[in-house]
Symmetry: C3
């Protein structure tokens, strides 16, 4: 009888752990995916400033910026925010460029900042991150 | 004692199943709700192209586009993307038009593409889909 | 043996309760965080109308509007929608202004509507609300 109760308590503990983890996410590990579709360089400049602000309050946050559609200039060699992108990349922020958008814009990886990573379909990346529990933020106005 | 352990194991299994389902969503059933508020026909054309791209990688995805506010022209009979909407609808994508927005724009269902479905309040639809676990994507710049 | 089975049943019930609560969210308590970044007064006017529409269908919804970046004019004393904001605030909607954006725009709390509440970083607020299960809506086009 006592042994059965002991086994049951172990079971309770094992089950309760993931359940609690879901209802009360670890405040120390924030995960955020940004959706950048805009060609507007004012939006680009604001985004890099906002990413810096976020890292100041949450230095260990997982942050990925998905760059697609009209936004590819953000990650081109001649980007108006290339110095900021280099610094943010060193701090751990990922910049995931949509390969579909690149083909459509006839851009090659040689024309992009070396801080870029690549995903086949930007929107699919935004969905998969949300499915994994990441928060979603649409950049821009 | 053995019977008690057996019952406990059954219980563990039953409880673990939904918990695992939550932490590891079925990769094969993606559900995405798009938020279209823009009157810009460049945004409309880009959206239908992006929906096609998504269906190419995820043919079985559940996709709904909520059309409200300034975006009703997207679903009007004279929409610049009506051929694309017909094809996407045949492939299973739903286009949910906000009835609140329609009243405000003095539009009737006779003026809309027959591929339209209708929801009383577009924003409420976007919220309910997220509550059911759908990923959210804001269309546009 | 019977006692062990009884304890196990209690355990099952206690564990099942939060699990069910997660898979089937209470339809009566909707929680929505709006992301307002735009300076466009047409966007502001549309947002207050949409918030009223939402409250008509969901009078008890928890709604917070995060106001940041270019959108601070929405909450200034001279806001074009200040009467609507007063009414919406009385109905329970929160308007959370980003203090980072305020410093950058050299605005003080004396220049803002008294219905404003304040958060240190608007984007962090949008993330934390999503982590707590709130639905996210980006306002604007």
């Amino acid at each position: 009888m006592k042994k059965s109760l002991f086994l049951f308590s172990i079971g309770l503990f094992l089950l309760a752990t993931p359940t609690l983890a879901q209802t009360k996410p670890d405040a120390k590990q924030h995960r955020i995916v940004f959706h950048l579709a805009s060609a507007d360089t004012v939006v680009h400049r604001t985004l890099v400033r906002q990413l810096n602000n976020l890292l100041e309050v949450w230095p260990k946050a997982n942050i990925e910026v998905v760059v697609h559609a009209w936004a590819l200039g953000f990650m081109r060699l001649e980007s108006t925010v290339s110095p900021e992108i280099k610094v943010l990349s060193e701090k751990g922020i990922a910049f995931a460029v949509c390969e579909n958008s690149m083909r459509r814009s006839k851009l090659t990886k040689e024309q992009m900042l070396k801080q870029a990573s690549y995903v086949p379909v930007g929107l699919a990346e935004l969905v998969m991150k949300q499915e994994e529990g990441w928060s979603y933020i649409k950049a821009g106005y």
